[in-house]
């Protein structure tokens, strides 16, 4: 089944959000942690420990998440730290995404989308 079709049964705003911004399991993990602990402000190393993922992979994902507006980056005495954005609309969308993922059908669709995205990324070399 094509990815486009796979996501079409989801709320269009959410489907667009997933297509545009969720292309790795690490991003999903980071959003889960930060959404459940919304005032977290921490370094890439500590966030990597919190999700139990390699720090180099987490850093790459954090950079993309900042670029996509999913996270904010602040410098504390030159050290980069990450947090959820202050923007209420983005926070609500993240919450909506994670809430939707509690449904197995949606979760399967998101997993499929991520796997397809990773195939594309690997193909791009």
């Amino acid at each position: 089944m094509e990815e486009e079709q796979f996501l079409e049964s989801i709320d269009p705003e959410l489907a667009e959000f997933i297509k545009a911004k969720i292309n790795s399991f690490i991003k999903w993990d980071i959003l889960k942690i930060l959404n459940s602990n919304p005032h977290t402000v921490d370094t890439a190393e500590k966030l990597a420990r919190q999700c139990g993922r390699p720090v180099e992979n987490v850093i790459k994902n954090l950079e993309e998440m900042v670029r996509d507006g999913l996270l904010e980056i602040h410098l504390v005495a030159g050290i980069p730290v990450y947090s959820l954005p202050k923007d209420e609309k983005t926070r609500q969308l993240i919450d909506k995404f994670l809430e939707a993922c509690r449904n197995r059908q949606v979760r399967v669709r998101v997993v499929y989308h991520i796997l397809k995205s990773q195939e594309v990324r690997l193909g791009e070399g």
Binding site: I33, S36, N37, P38, H39, T40, V41, D42, T43, E45, K46, Q50, V76, A77, I79, V81
Partner: protein, 252 residues
């Protein structure tokens, strides 16, 4: 002098009314003795009983664990956060230290914008990772304490005790720098474990000198009566007074 009440039954009486405003207070204990609960209760009571917004800083436990634990005591931390009266922040010790040092950091902003008066740092033990030498740690903690005082926050710093029962009560450098030092301990009496609380130090104030029983109930911590007729409580395995009297004066 004005006091900052903890609102914890029995504890304010041990502290002759509560902590001093803008003081930094150390609570040390083994896992499960009630350090984090004491901190959460101090923050919760501050908000709902005394109208003082609070900050809870965690370095290791996820905030969602505090939300869950607080809920078990009937304290709705999520609601208090939504109302802007509480923030449970997870961060790293080095970030908190640097944040406190800079102008308009997240803690300073919370003080200025939300009127935060109380802070709990759970736990200060993590600062030990930042220093290679004892003198470096002491300087770091000294600077951290002064930053909290500059913001006029009444603070509780928790510290993990390395031993479960008793253990050596060494002079940990931070205990010299803080305004008060509260110890939580496990005590074994007649094959049962009890929790004990002792106010070891309270700079510039009278305080209870006895060791009292502490219980964690469905409403949070309650400080109960003193342990009667025992000695050596802080060793974890106290003896009846009579036995020691016999040992000391009769068997000799």
């Amino acid at each position: 002098m004005e006091r900052v009440k903890t609102g914890i039954p029995g504890l304010d009486e041990m502290l002759s009314g509560g902590f001093y405003p803008g003081s930094v207070n150390l609570v040390e204990g083994a896992p499960g003795t009630g350090k984090s609960t004491l901190g959460m209760q101090f923050i919760y009571n501050g908000i709902v009983k005394f109208g003082e917004p609070g900050l809870l800083i965690t370095f290791e436990e996820f905030p969602e664990q505090y939300y869950r634990d607080a809920e078990n005591f009937g304290w709705d931390f999520r609601r208090l956060e939504k109302e802007g009266l509480l923030k449970v922040i997870m961060t790293s010790p080095e970030i908190l230290k640097l944040d406190l040092e800079r102008v308009s950091g997240m803690v300073e902003q919370a003080v200025l914008e939300r009127g935060v008066k109380r802070i709990v740092v759970d736990s200060i033990t993590h600062f030990e990772q930042l220093a290679s030498y004892p003198t470096e740690l002491r300087n770091l903690e000294y600077s951290f304490i002064n930053a909290l005082k500059r913001l006029e926050l009444t603070a509780i710093l928790t510290r993990e005790s390395p031993t479960l029962l008793g253990g050596e009560m060494g002079a940990y450098p931070l205990s010299y720098m803080v305004d008060s030092y509260i110890l939580l301990r496990y005590v074994e009496i007649d094959s049962r474990i009890y929790k004990a609380i002792l106010v070891l130090k309270f700079r510039g104030s009278d305080h209870a000198k006895d060791i009292r029983r502490l219980e964690i109930t469905s409403n949070g911590i309650e400080v109960l009566e003193r342990f009667e007729g025992r000695e050596g409580l802080m060793s974890g395995t106290p003896r009846r007074m009579a036995e020691s009297f016999v040992e000391a004066f009769i068997r000799k």
